[in-house]
Symmetry: C2
Amino acid sequence: MVSKDKNVILVVKPYDRTVTTSSNKILLDVLRELEIPIRSDCGGIGECGKCKVILSRGFTIPFTSSEKRFFSEEDLYKGYRLACQVRLIEGSYEVFIPSESILQRYRSADIGFEKVVELLPAVKKIFVILPKSSLNDVRADYERIADVSKDFINLYDVDIDIDVIQRLPEVIRANDWSVTIVVWHNKKIIDVESGNTSNKLYGLAIDIGTSKIVVHLIDLVSGNTIAIESIPNPQASYGADIISRLSHAMQSNDNLKKLQEILLRAINLTIERISLRANISKDNIYEAVIVGNTVMHHLFLGIQPKYLGYSPYVPAISRSIYLRAKDVGMSINRNGIIYMLPVIAGYVGSDALADAIAVDLENCEKPCMLIDIGTNTEILLNTGKEIYACSTPAGPAFEGASISFGMRAVAGAIDQVFIYFDSVTQDYAVHYHTIGDVKPMGICGSAMIDTIAHLYRLNIIDNRGRFLKGIKSSRIISNNGNYSFILAWSDETEIGKNISITVKDINEILLAKAAIVSGIKVLINEAKLSFADLQNIYIAGSFGTYMNIENAITIGLLPIIDPKKVLFVGNTAISGAKACLKNINIRKKAEVLARKIKYIELSAHPLFNKIFIDSIPLPTYSNMINKS
Amino acid sequence: MVSKDKNVILVVKPYDRTVTTSSNKILLDVLRELEIPIRSDCGGIGECGKCKVILSRGFTIPFTSSEKRFFSEEDLYKGYRLACQVRLIEGSYEVFIPSESILQRYRSADIGFEKVVELLPAVKKIFVILPKSSLNDVRADYERIADVSKDFINLYDVDIDIDVIQRLPEVIRANDWSVTIVVWHNKKIIDVESGNTSNKLYGLAIDIGTSKIVVHLIDLVSGNTIAIESIPNPQASYGADIISRLSHAMQSNDNLKKLQEILLRAINLTIERISLRANISKDNIYEAVIVGNTVMHHLFLGIQPKYLGYSPYVPAISRSIYLRAKDVGMSINRNGIIYMLPVIAGYVGSDALADAIAVDLENCEKPCMLIDIGTNTEILLNTGKEIYACSTPAGPAFEGASISFGMRAVAGAIDQVFIYFDSVTQDYAVHYHTIGDVKPMGICGSAMIDTIAHLYRLNIIDNRGRFLKGIKSSRIISNNGNYSFILAWSDETEIGKNISITVKDINEILLAKAAIVSGIKVLINEAKLSFADLQNIYIAGSFGTYMNIENAITIGLLPIIDPKKVLFVGNTAISGAKACLKNINIRKKAEVLARKIKYIELSAHPLFNKIFIDSIPLPTYSNMINKS
């Protein structure tokens, strides 16, 4: 029965996927089912023209008016179609997805762009079979190990932890004098295990975000990521943003201790879960590489972050730190090691450094920029000669705080909005996408960008975000002159209320945008470059998972740039941490890079205030020409 | 009134002491009051002839019959006198104490021979004044310290403990940006302190003995020992000797934990006391050097010592170990370091190594031997080319166990015995000395040696320790043929009973002696030397504080050797530990020495059993000739 229905054969290029399916389906839906990352800004109503594909042998399927609007005769002749407009009929097709139609995004905020990294971890295992002791050979247990393994490592130069020695006599006798030595960085014995355990060698990469902790478990024998877990940062109950956490910690060392404690508990819980899921023992996790912003870095270490809150915002320490897991209470192997990547400055943490490592920012041939948009936005610019970094206190507007229906990019959040004028109803229509495909509860940052861009393009608001007078629409509401635009009607929402965006919301976003843009401009200015010199802009962080580049350019969040140059790289903080876990030379590279980066303190920069004020309005066409 | 009585002026050479005292006093008593370490084996009754002095301008004081017995006319003409026979009359004298009359002993078991050691401790302090942070200088607190101190030490290669970083922001701001950095071994920052604390730099040397823990507090700026404390080893309640401790620990890891715990508590209590006494802060104690026998070493570290109890008696680890004080719970500076000297074998611990370091055994020009007599006796022999070590399970006889009235060398113990035939009473008379000058409660090892030597010399016992028949003396008691000899009458003692030595006691001592002697002989044999080749025999440990060399030779405990070659060096375990604390090069020397020493396992030695049996009897004259 089922196979009878499957009368459509589709080959998807360049993915080389072949699928048989039933006729009468929309091509976009088939591609979505195949998890082909195809763009569809308007959600599949033929209004955005982003789901362009080239369909061979598809001429029998009629063109829609939408397609005729977006393609020339010549394009149509070449086979260009909008995937959302093609209703498949029986037959065999080949569809090619051009690069501009591919969403270069990471579905999950827990992963990011990863390069192949040669395995050279800090921890190695050496399996040896020991000669047994006798009255003619009364060497101590440990000396026996040292002697037999001297071809692999000089254990005379090595530190040993006390509990390794404590267990040694039993361990070496438990498996007929065969043991596996776990050596860290050729200078410390982390463990000695009975028998041959050399295939059990794991490490963790941990990204401590202000809102979320992401943990990857890596098999350091194969290099594979064998499990991923994440957990909300429980410090959130002491404030959504880093400044409120900072304020709380500053009040007393007890508060600091509490913040450290709950963070650690969440990390340990995640480690528990991830090792259960991967079915491995926590004792075989020997190292963890940790990244995070500087406040998270300090709170994790139990350092009073007070002075991060006062000018000149200096960290207690910026270089990389090796710690014993037990000193901070992290539940991996008793003598496991924690590697904290260096932080760059008070508000440019090791997460930003990890971003740079993940995309190899240092080795761009031409100028490249990396922007990690979050509560705090970190911007790094490699001019080809020097690397600059700054941080902008963008405020939590993009994360939903201070926005009427603002929320984080979690299930229930409208994350994509497409507004158009419906000629049938003669009113503005809205297509939106909600995360988790549930009824909407609010809107997240990417949807705010979409909304403002569309309202601006449709001339509903002016470049200062003010609603133009005299526009007739059921969606535009004025409450004593305070305008708002309804995105979702109450009957569509989970909350039973209209979800709308207000003038005040738009202003908040414009201020947040101005903060980020000022950071970008100050760095470009400092480097004596123009935006046209940029070869790539990497957008890191979960924000990029949903952000629409064209809309970001429209509202001026990104400079006018060929959208192909903008790469969404996802959670590169975790990718960079993983690279450092897998290869100690990459750590060294990161340490050198951290010291090389020139930090620009925006609040002390003479041009910052002027640039900030100038960056608040939406770009006008003439402005856009000037800036490009 | 007082000064009127002081009509005697006495100059004591070579001590260059001058004293005025009253006439009618015995010269020996005056010397004792001056704490001149003069010998007096018989206790001052003119019977031993050991308190020889040369008295100038003393001819007016009549010679006694005792003096005439011990000195030739010529000697008397030169001024030779017995200090116990000279009753001073008004006048001015000069008395010279010849070296053979000087007791080369350490009064306290807590100190030992010390050489001058150049100061080169592992911990150093660096005082720096930091540039303050500003918007133009946003370096992290720690980087600021690293940069300013880079002329002294490369902090880029240095480890930092987490709690140092935690306190750093407050510490550097507490004293106007001036700090003192405490660096250990140029590779670890132990602490950063506010202001200039560079004159507060202390270390501990700790000797963990089976019965007693001795702690010295050393000022590492001056090199001076500023306080000494000792405390009984509380593990004694689990057995007086190491074998019973071992057995207890072997029964369960809980027992082991308990033994470790009470030891640590005693050490921490002693550290508390010593720092109070010296009026210093424990936080300024940055390092502790610890020595002890291998069982104590393992128990301190919480290592299950089980395998020390089974042949082939191998330790868990023999090399030196650096530990963080907090890992073992020792209450010195939070990040203080513990240095455990290497042990040589299962029954030759780091205390024996420290002995060798203290007397510089390694650099003897001619063959030298070191004997540390205790429950377990360690013997080291430097042949000039090689260094041998062995350990003899002497048993606790010398410490009083299994002896009728045996006790340790503590207050109330008879520690010196002198037996002679009193021609007036026509009976044997006994002079004894009791530790603490209280009524006797028992006898300790040195007095047992004295007793057996005298009984043998006086032909009361034969060379097998059997009482000869037909000797008439009120002190010789036969109980069904089981003889004993009364040393102290009941009315003289604290316990209200006669204190005596029995045939069985004598046999126990002879067995213990045989064990030690066999060790000595096996080493001499292994090295293909004879006793005459020995330039020096160092007697280490508290036993030497009271032992009479001639008597030890008489019973055969020591070979026939010029008594001047026998040097009592006291608690050299603590001295060696101190030397290692003061100078890191001496540690390295100790580490090299530990690996160089050839350990001889007596129980596996083919000659041991025969030598042991042969060593039980007291040496006969012909034997003594043969052996010398």
